[in-house]
């Protein structure tokens, strides 16, 4: 991804390294305004719209996690639905013990992060494509394991208790807010992670794994961290799913279509950027809403679009935007500018 136009030695003081070409404060203020406006939605729109947006929040959270895995750590997981299902079922388990599902959500997310540790120990033995299917087998195993417990509803699932006494309006609004909160937290976590030292390692892995390893980057540790964070994020999304559906069902919560959704949102939006999953989710939701009446056609078209984008527009829709405007809404990389040169001559990010 890095572009170096001029080689040869230069005096050190002629370089200027910045996070962004434009003022970051404005992006921050803009993001804050967007979040505040979104938070007011339950007062402004019909409940049909908010529940649609909750779906969008789930997809966006999942997509940002998958982007972290595949776009930065080079881990193509086809088994993230395992964490979606685990998150949903952890909410059920805590709710069955009398906890409010809304309180159970963060605990369920953390529990998914803890569960990611032994699962990583298992799947990290395999590489690339085999890693991908191993995570898938793992997700299938988790589902079969959970189906064994009749107290958790076996193969048919259970309604999530703890919502009795709440008015439907309030429930819809709470569900919306918790979905929004999870999404904002997920995006913020990805942003902060990528700006940290680990983020530098991850960007290096994304650009060239061999070079990153030989420069002494602790690739294994960074990958473990990403797998755990993605476990927490997908678990939180699964918890939101359980709350918004008011029930858990093994074959729906552990469905591989979750991974297909998150992967395709990321591919279409742009792999390896924070902005990509956001655009991809919007495109995905629009496609879903317009084509939903054509049943399987919508998934066929989504699959074809993903194939075409992967082959012909590898940086996705955001890549096209970035090429022309050179903007970063979330500056996680570095711009390298030469003194006396207003245009950037190289960049990493």
């Amino acid at each position: 991804m890095s572009v170096v136009t001029k080689a040869g030695p230069r005096p050190a003081e002629s370089f200027l390294v910045t996070r962004s070409q434009r003022n970051v404060v404005w992006t921050g203020v803009g993001a804050l305004i967007v979040v505040v406006v979104l938070a007011l939605f339950p007062y402004l729109v019909y409940s049909g719209t908010t529940s649609l947006m909750v779906q969008g929040f789930i997809v966006l959270t999942l997509a940002s996690m998958w982007n972290l895995l595949a776009g930065y750590a080079g881990l193509v997981s086809v088994g993230q639905q395992g964490f979606v299902g685990l998150g949903a079922y952890f909410v059920l388990i805590f709710a069955l013990h009398g906890l409010s599902p809304f309180v159970a959500l963060p605990i369920a997310a953390i529990a998914c992060g803890v569960a990611a540790l032994p699962l990583w120990w298992l799947v990290s033995r395999l590489r690339s494509g085999y890693f991908a299917i191993a995570t898938w087998v793992l997700a299938a195993t988790l589902m079969l394991f959970i189906e064994r417990f009749n107290s958790l509803g076996g193969g048919t699932g259970l309604p999530v208790p703890g919502f009795t006494g709440m008015s439907p309006t309030l429930l819809t609004a709470y569900t919306y807010w918790i979905g929004l909160a999870v999404t904002v937290a997920a995006l913020l976590a990805v942003y902060l992670l990528l700006r940290s030292r680990v983020g530098l390692v991850l960007t290096a892995i994304r650009d060239d794994e061999v070079a990153a390893r030989s420069s002494g980057a602790r690739v294994g540790l960074a990958r473990l961290l990403v797998f755990v964070v993605a476990g927490i994020g997908c678990g939180a999304a699964g918890a939101v799913l359980a709350i918004s559906q008011l029930q858990v069902q093994p074959s729906a919560d552990f469905s591989v279509s979750w991974t297909a959704e998150m992967a395709f949102a990321v591919i279409i939006g742009g792999l390896g950027t924070i902005e990509g999953p956001i655009i991809g989710t919007v495109v995905y939701m629009v496609l879903q809403q317009t084509l939903a009446s054509y049943n399987a056609w919508y998934l066929i078209i989504l699959g074809l679009v993903a194939i075409l984008v992967a082959l012909f527009a590898r940086r996705g829709l955001w890549g096209l935007v970035d090429e022309h405007l050179r903007v970063r809404l979330f500056p996680v990389g570095y711009w390298l500018r030469l003194a006396g040169d207003n245009d950037s001559s190289g960049r990493r990010g």
Binding site: V76, L126, G129, Y130, A134, L138, A263, I300, L311
Partner: protein
């Protein structure tokens, strides 16, 4: 005796799993492609078989003679177009493109053939018949035939890769693409041939599956791909005979699981897979030097 029967059934279904797995292993071994649409292509083969039988009314076994070449040709062109252009762009693109292909195939089958399950050869003696050993051990004809076909396919592949001059070319390209290219071998064509072979075995697997069980659009990912993959990992990555060993171990684990509790069939198979991953990640038949 019930346990002996379970083990015998497990060994025989292992042949079916080996048929699923050897194509996956071949494509990974030669092209370093993990084809996530592998199972869906097997299902396509099954549907092609159903179509051929319905349209032409030829005997079931003769339809195999048509389906295998058809799938081999599809494999060649798929490799030369879609998979090759994905390969040129890297491992990640290959995974995404085959995942997309898997989704397209599965939903296209759903759209055009509905979710209803189909089978091939229901009522044939070959499919339903069996002979008994003692009072408890049943040997279904179909599984015996599938097992024999699997062994024959593996022997054939083994002979092709190690003895024939074209097989030598395939191995040369698998070892070093650029060196083979410099020596005048067009690696893209060789890749196409390997994909054609892989899809030929996939076609056999798909036809066998639609006789052994019932065929529906989701069988490709839910069952065939995962079983193929588990068999490959248990047996050892890149080992052709390992797929048979892996298939047999998976088959036995599933049958013993089903013997303990009928709903534990799948779980038992996956648990053995995880056990192998922990204790012997290189697989039971490991060929470290080759990978």
């Amino acid at each position: 005796m019930a346990w002996v029967n379970a083990i015998v059934q497990g060994v025989l279904t292992g042949g079916l799993y080996a048929l699923f797995a050897c194509g996956l292993s071949l494509m990974f071994g030669v092209m370093k492609v993990v084809n996530l649409a592998h199972g869906d292509l097997a299902v396509v083969a099954g549907y092609v078989g159903v179509g051929v039988i319905t349209v032409t009314n030829i005997p079931v076994l003769w339809s195999v003679v048509i389906v295998v070449p058809v799938m081999a040709v599809i494999g060649y062109f798929l490799q030369r177009t879609l998979i090759q252009s994905a390969l040129n762009r890297g491992v990640l693109t290959t995974l995404i493109v085959t995942l997309g292909l898997s989704m397209v195939i599965e939903n296209a089958l759903l759209q055009f053939f509905t979710a209803n399950s189909r089978g091939i050869g229901a009522g044939m003696t070959l499919v339903t018949g069996s002979f008994s050993l003692g009072s408890q051990v049943e040997l279904p004809y179909l599984l015996l035939v599938i097992f024999a076909v699997a062994v024959a396919v593996l022997l054939g592949l083994q002979w092709f890769l190690s003895r024939s001059s074209y097989g030598r070319l395939v191995r040369a390209v698998a070892d070093d693409q650029e060196a083979a290219q410099l020596s005048g071998a067009d690696y893209r064509h060789v890749f196409g041939i390997a994909a054609a072979l892989a899809l030929g075995t996939v076609a056999l697997g798909g036809m066998a599956y639609s006789m052994y069980s019932t065929l529906d659009p989701t069988a490709g990912t839910d069952t065939i791909l995962l079983f193929a993959f588990v068999a490959v990992v248990i047996g050892g990555l890149g080992s052709l005979w390992g797929t048979l060993v892996g298939g047999i171990v998976l088959g036995i684990a599933q049958q013993i699981g089903a013997q303990i509790n009928i709903s534990d069939e799948l779980l038992a198979g996956y648990l053995v897979f995880l056990l192998v991953l922990v204790l012997r990640p290189q697989g039971l038949v490991s060929r470290r030097a080759q990978s």
